[in-house]
């Protein structure tokens, strides 16, 4: 078994405690440790080695294999704050292990476009929403996108709608799948501009890691070859090798410890793996716990000085939760695609990325050809794909269709914008507790009408593509109820105005000078469905700035 390279005692005052070891936390830890600072990373989940990942759909998708378990950490949901939030009515889902969401994500790795940062001034305002510009631009983030792609390992080819980039991708695209061949042909016929999907999966060996072996178990699974560019295989080992960073698994943060007199953070209180409370002392705290748990941790850290939750003078902690719209159309073809092999998707278009005022609504997105349905999920039908909605659900014809379709189906998926609504929010349930006795996470969410209009528009485009691709049969899947997401964005938004945002342009909370937040919670707008690339670019950027602040004694 692995031994941590360094162990700190909770009573040691380290330079930083980082809460969360995922897409952002792993990078922040590595940036701080390699700059000479001492770091303890508190991760609520276990540490698994690549050989411990399994191809076990039942365990991973139905028994909370590596994700938050609703039995231990229940949640409540209602569409609006005025309705009673009910248990098990919805779920904000995240990977709960060292590496976090970067372990089990599908690894779509899209940069934002320039427009994403300045959309509100271009297309806004939109009444009843918190639609706003980011306090940073694409140009400011570009060096960190490049750093993420080159340090972590991303495979792709620049496309015609990409924002300017200082370097190409470090690795060529992964092999095209049958869905990609059909999609590319159809899109060209329709005058669109298909391109290989950029993926944080290695098409060739890179920095001592294996290339993808095309097993087909990306979405929802950990990669047993280490070919997915998770922080678990990339930056976390680098952080540990410095001898200054301890990754501490099974450590569930419950409160940011504050010194009331100065209003400064002095560490983080967490439950260790025996459910015993510990206080890890530190000079500063960076929370990278994801867009649901970061907000929850601040709200749980309320005190006399911060009665509405820590760093919440704006009242916006937890507010403006955004998911990204996701909609699909399915099609079956004459011959075999076998799209259950290899990565989830290999071709996409960004022709409809921008808002077009002529459409009459705000929104846009990317469209890709994908198949990420495993046997049980496909047979049950649902979010990840299945038979056409009007197909029988049991009996001889059901079985015949399953048999015919599993290898002959693909989905054309729209990944779209979500407007920030203040009523879409993460909060603490007033009654329900988790298995540690902490307030359960409550969330409210409903679509803005423009979010739905965008998804409908994308489905029409998806059906056109399937038809042009020669699908024998195609259908639009029902748009899902907004009670489930793996994209957790916007709940501690970034901004220059302390009344309108939670963190500043360097991810420092407006209210507590030695408390930083960096993950999906920092997002001001939702982008178009693939947030991880931007989360990681932000993490590289914040890491660099925090190191500078520390050197100048400005924390």
């Amino acid at each position: 078994m692995r031994q941590p390279s360094v162990r700190f005692r909770p009573s040691d005052v380290v330079d930083f405690v980082v809460v969360g070891s995922g897409a952002a936390g792993g990078i922040v830890a590595k940036e701080l440790a390699t700059a000479g600072l001492t770091v303890v990373v508190l991760e609520q989940g276990p540490r698994l080695e690549p050989r411990q990942f399994e191809h076990d759909e039942f365990k991973y998708f139905f028994r909370s294999g590596i994700v938050n378990d609703p039995e231990l950490q229940p949640q409540t949901f209602a569409p609006t704050p005025n309705e009673e939030a009910k248990k098990d009515a919805g779920v904000l889902l995240y990977a709960r292990l060292v590496g976090g969401g970067s372990v089990h994500f599908t690894a779509n790795y899209w940069r934002f476009h320039e427009i994403d940062f300045v959309e509100a001034s271009r297309h806004g305002p939109i009444s009843g929403t918190g639609f706003a510009d980011w306090p940073i631009t694409y140009a400011e983030l570009e060096p960190y996108y490049t750093k993420a792609e080159w340090e972590l390992g991303v495979s792709g080819t620049p496309g015609p709608f990409d924002a300017p980039r200082s370097r190409p991708y470090p690795l060529p695209p992964l092999p095209v799948k049958s869905s990609g061949v059909l999609f590319e042909r159809a899109c060209k016929q329709l005058g669109l501009h298909p391109q290989p999907t950029p993926l944080a999966i290695l098409s060739q060996p890179f920095r001592g890691r294996n290339a993808c072996q095309h097993c087909g178990f990306c979405f929802g699974f950990g990669c047993e070859f280490g070919a997915k560019s998770s922080t678990l295989y990339t930056v976390i080992p680098v952080a540990e090798a410095t001898g200054r960073c301890e990754i501490r698994p099974n450590s569930y943060a419950r409160k940011i410890a504050m010194e009331e007199r100065t209003g400064r953070a002095i560490g983080v209180v967490y439950f260790d793996d025996h459910k015993v409370e510990q206080l890890q002392r530190a000079r500063a705290v960076v929370v990278c716990a994801n867009g649901a748990e970061t907000a929850r941790l601040l709200l749980m850290s309320q005190s006399r000085r911060f009665p509405d939750g820590l760093a919440n003078s704006s009242g916006l902690v937890g507010k403006y939760l955004m998911f990204n719209g996701y909609c699909t159309a399915g099609g079956t073809f004459e011959r075999r695609l076998n799209d259950w092999k290899s990565v989830a998707d290999s071709r996409m278009v960004h022709d409809f990325y921008d808002t077009d005022p002529a459409r009459g609504f705000y929104g846009g997105g990317g469209i890709d050809a994908r198949f990420a349905a495993y046997p049980i999920g496909f047979a049950l039908g649902g979010l990840v794909g299945g038979l056409a909605p009007d197909a029988p659900t049991w009996g001889p014809e059901y079985k015949r269709l399953l048999r015919e379709s599993y290898s002959r189906t693909m989905y054309v998926a729209g990944h779209t914008t979500s407007l920030p609504l203040q009523s879409n929010a993460v909060s603490l349930d007033p009654l329900l507790k988790d298995a540690w006795g902490l307030p359960a996470l409550r969330f409210t969410y409903q679509y803005h009408p423009d979010d739905v209009a965008t998804m409908r528009f994308m489905q029409v485009k998806a059906l056109e593509i399937l038809e042009a691709a020669g699908a024998r049969r195609s259908w639009a899947d029902p748009v899902q109820a907004p009670n489930f997401s793996v994209h957790l964005l916007g709940t501690c938004r970034m901004g220059n105005d302390p009344r309108m945002s939670v963190v500043d342009r360097y991810h420092r909370t407006h209210d507590v000078s030695n408390l930083f937040l960096c993950d999906g919670s920092s997002f001001v707008t939702a982008g178009r469905g693939q947030p991880t690339c931007t989360i990681q670019a932000l993490a590289y950027r914040v890491g660099e700035h925090i190191v500078e602040f520390a050197r100048r004694g400005e924390i």
């Binding site: 076990d56 092999p175 011959r335 999920g377 049950l380 599993y406």
Partner: protein, 193 residues
């Protein structure tokens, strides 16, 4: 409306499609025992004794599963051993669903007797009558639960006690491997020519 905790969790699975925890978490010892059981069950020439079902209940469950994923020129849920998966799960990590199973089966048999007095339990009915009765109840939480369990048992990893000899995956033409090489399907093969 769905009434108990189990149904709520099944509802979550149906509404979320995936990523829902329908079954309670097992502790590591239970999991190990489950895997050992599955290994024994796969090797046994004769089916093991029932851990939870009565023989009559097992026959009914097997008949329902065989209606949901019938045997034709390819094996179905019966050959996949779906009933063994369910029996073992109810005896170990899905004990909270026992009532829903037992109650649902009792109600199904009550309806069978009401419709065809003297014809015996569900498992003894002709296939046509079984189909007819299942169509009557197909919107009920009980049937939805049976479908969920049958599909899961048939298509989950064999280590969970169903999908014997991977017959479920043969239905789908799916093969679980760690390494594939392009071309993956007919269309990318053609394009590569």
């Amino acid at each position: 409306m769905l009434i108990d905790a189990v149904s709520r969790r099944a509802f979550l699975a149906a509404s979320c499609g995936a990523f829902a925890s329908v079954w309670l978490p097992a502790d590591p010892d239970e999991l190990r025992a489950s895997l050992a059981y599955a290994a024994r069950a796969c090797q046994a020439a004769h089916p093991p004794a029932w851990d939870f079902f009565t023989p009559a209940q097992a026959a009914d469950v097997d008949a329902i599963a065989a209606q949901i994923l019938p045997t034709d020129d390819l094996p179905g849920a019966r050959e996949a051993g779906a009933v063994y998966f369910m029996d073992h799960s109810l005896a170990t990590w899905a004990q909270q669903q026992r009532e829903a199973f037992s109650g649902g089966l009792a109600e199904l048999n009550r309806q069978a007797t009401h419709r065809w007095p003297g014809a015996g339990r569900f498992a003894a009915l002709s296939s046509e009558r079984q189909t007819e009765l299942l169509h009557v109840i197909e919107q009920t939480p009980f049937f939805q639960m049976m479908r969920l369990h049958t599909v899961t048992a048939t298509f989950a990893n064999p280590s969970w006690g169903g999908n014997r000899d991977k017959v479920g995956w043969r239905i789908l033409d799916f093969e679980d491997r760690f390494v594939w090489q392009p071309p993956f399907g007919d269309y990318d093969a053609d394009a590569a020519k």
